[in-house]
Symmetry: C2
Subunit: 349 residues, 2 copies
């Protein structure tokens, strides 16, 4: 694509600190017609043309620290101006691009700063394999890494049972399907009957339940006749307290975040931690940036991409057009209105 020297940026910024239980569209502001001169790129800088943006539920107002900057988000982008040998023009990358059309990243030649830029493999460009480029911020990006590395940390064994919280979400759907390929019994919870059906019918789950309409203790007893050995927890709070009580001896819980405890809520008081020592159970805290080696060494791509190409796993994205629509979709996503991983398409490759 031939670009003019001057491009016009649009971005979504944080307009006000949130002081309510839920994020609203009014807390964002869309700014447009911000000119960027590509010839202004300096030594140690790149300018990116952003293609896809990931809407991540963890980016709740509790994380807002500054106003008037683009809201935080991981993107897939193409380098369109470069002052850095490592990232020549035309390179496809994934990095925190934020909620905007073009992003300037500086300081790349400074050995003391870490840019966290991930250079995508050459085949990322080839969508004829049936794997869309947007997957590099979902199944092959941070959610994919979180699922893949999280299961490695859990050190799952065939024949055992794993329970996946938020199973229809960007991470959960992959956790369940990957565990299934490794011979586990997989059960999940989701917030609508449609998601529950999708998990069972399209994503190979052995069972799933709607946590909004069915009692969790009864559902887990029904769906896990041999009990639960692993719990992949994204929720925390009441359901974690229940799992601590009913999990099998030597069970393991991976905690990647506690979405039920975000948005300024009073923490749910956990009362069942005594089961940890009584049953030899572990709770393992997981942070994805401790596991970035699976990007660098190609293990994530090498494991999940072939499964996607052969359609042995089915990754569900909801892709919406236009960066200016990102606030609306972010709020809808937090309200549980979408199924699968939510992605904004900003531009064609």
């Amino acid at each position: 694509m031939t670009l003019p020297n001057i491009v016009s940026n649009t971005r979504v910024v944080r307009a006000s600190y949130a002081n309510k239980a839920r994020v609203t569209e009014a807390q964002f502001r869309v700014e447009s017609n911000l000119e960027i001169d590509l010839s202004s790129v300096k030594e140690g800088e790149v300018i990116l043309r952003n293609l896809y943006l990931s809407l991540d539920p963890c980016e709740t107002p509790a994380a807002w620290r500054t106003l008037n900057d683009p809201f935080y988000g991981l993107g897939v982008a193409e380098v369109i101006a470069s002052g850095c040998e490592k990232y020549p023009v035309g390179t496809l990358v994934s990095v925190n691009t934020g909620y905007e059309k073009y992003t300037r990243i500086a300081g790349l030649n400074d050995p003391n700063t870490s840019s966290d830029i991930r250079v995508l493999p050459a085949h990322a460009r080839d969508e004829s394999t049936g794997v869309p480029l947007s997957n590099y911020i979902s199944a092959l990006g941070m959610p994919g890494l979180t699922a893949f590395a999280g299961l490695k940390v859990l050190d799952i064994e065939a024949g055992k049972t794993i329970f996946v919280g938020s199973a229809a979400g960007g991470v959960g759907q992959l956790v369940g399907q990957l565990a299934k390929t490794q011979g586990l019994r997989v059960i999940g919870s989701a917030g609508s009957d449609e998601k529950v059906s999708y998990l069972v019918e399209k994503q190979h789950f052995d069972g799933a339940f709607n946590y909004k309409t069915e009692n969790a203790r009864e559902a887990l007893t029904r769906l896990a006749p041999n009990g639960i050995d692993y719990y992949y927890d994204t929720v925390g709070g009441e359901i974690l307290d229940l799992v601590l009580e009913i999990i099998n001896d030597k069970g393991k819980i991976l905690s990647i975040g506690m979405v039920s405890q975000e948005n300024g809520k009073e923490p749910y008081p956990i009362r069942n931690l005594n089961y940890i020592a009584r049953k030899g159970v572990s709770i393992l805290g997981f942070i994805y940036w401790h596991h970035l080696q699976y990007f660098a060494n190609g293990e994530l791509d090498g494991t999940i991409r072939p499964l996607l190409e052969r359609k042995e796993i089915n990754y569900r994205e909801e892709v919406f057009d236009g960066i200016e629509n990102a606030p609306k979709h972010f709020v809808n996503m937090l309200d549980g209105k979408y199924a699968g991983k939510v992605v904004i398409k900003i531009a064609d490759l």
Copy 2:
């Protein structure tokens, strides 16, 4: 020692179910003049002459299920009548002997029952090395295994800081000293100034504080200038909630029990579990019987006994005479009146 064919047993039994916050002496009953005919030993049985009994804080009334049986406790004993080739007369063993002078154990030839009898190494008898036989229910017994295997599970690294709860207890004193031999900074909490002094002056701790008189947050900040990397938790509750908040990134917590949550108390509601995912922290539940291989393969004895013989570690026991005094000492122990591991001497070797 030549024994008559008929020996007279004395035992301490559970007289009533506890329904109070604390155990009292009135909940026990001492029974004596119970005759055991050694010639009555049957195929697959042994009769033991008990030498030392361990008083274990985990054996609180919550664990009482039957009345009129000897109260539960691990002992060191000598086989004095045997109907089982594996345990000839004269063998020293450690097993759940209960609170009594003589114990009959049956069913040893039944492959479907597990007796959990540990045969002690030959050198256990040799007290001239400075290692008393009673150590086989303390530093070289279950508390030793709990400390030794617990540190293996934590996978501690030199240069880091470990905080040990109940540091003057039967497990804690060994955890601290073993961690110290592995190059860690070791800090602990205890319930009296005398215990605190002992930990620092005699047991090589880098620092300790009296949790009854000093604010734990201030003490931990003062004693751990580089923060806490590992917490060996025997307490649970409020202190665990504090450690979750202040522990370093990637910190690990070993939970071997939650003595603050026993005795029928309402569980302390933990509010800081969200730090687990935020900091990549793990809580690892530990049960000693998952780690009995360190008895069988000699690794526990081979590691700790030389340290005791060379006086590189110093294990503090309080040994009291007479099985009939066990209830009083058990209650005193739960009330924190003793320092070190509490042992009842029942008979000479």
